[in-house]
Symmetry: C2
Subunit: 126 residues, 2 copies
């Protein structure tokens, strides 16, 4: 985890009222790919198993095919993998993110950075 830079871009894709894909869900897919299970991914992301499971469930309900497949096992036990469909969705999301990150280098962005202080002042009197 790096400290937040001055500029943060958050791309959220909604399916009805659910967030089908966003920064947290994309990172969770990466972690499931790296760790081979929802519980391992949750641990690596310092997230509860329950929360990781709910995010996976939401993703699997929002897309035409599941993004994550689990194999049955003991409680919290079985493995999980990102499906080829999930890998494709993640790649498109990362590509969109990279495209917008690079589009954000522009004179308006430079003007905003120049106008901002390096750190906030202390609270003024009310």
């Amino acid at each position: 985890m790096t400290a937040p830079g001055p500029f943060k871009l958050k791309i959220q894709l909604y399916c009805g009222d659910e967030i089908a894909m966003g920064p947290g869900k994309a990172d969770l897919l990466d972690a499931i790919g790296a760790h081979g299970s929802i519980s391992g991914a949750a641990r690596a992301m310092d997230m509860s198993y329950r929360r990781a499971w709910l995010l996976v469930d939401a993703m699997n309900r929002c897309w035409r095919e599941p993004l994550v497949e689990t194999s049955p096992g003991s409680a919290h036990g079985g493995g999980a993998r990102v499906t080829p469909f999930g890998t494709a969705v993640l790649a498109h999301y990362r590509a969109l993110q990279a495209r917008l990150d690079s589009a954000s280098h522009c004179p308006d962005h430079a003007a905003l950075e120049a106008a901002m202080l390096p750190a906030p002042r202390v609270t003024q009197k009310g």
Copy 2:
């Protein structure tokens, strides 16, 4: 307020750990401009006066010059206006937002929309 579309882009500018500008603060500046006071803007945005005041305070501490100027008055009373500096910051932020919105129309975005369901499925069995 419109329902969230499938795609939502959130640009946040950080000053240290504070959000110096983001969608909510930009909308608040617009509302202060329209209503001429923090309390009027808060009412229009269905936000508490305290929350609006805290957002204004954060903005005024993060930039080289204040974005909002208040004129003294009765409690919650005095008027407020967006300074010329604040108007410029807001214009750069809106321009950056428009630039990224238009950059988001691309094949990756189209592929994501095609892969998403129009509405989420019901929760699957655990």
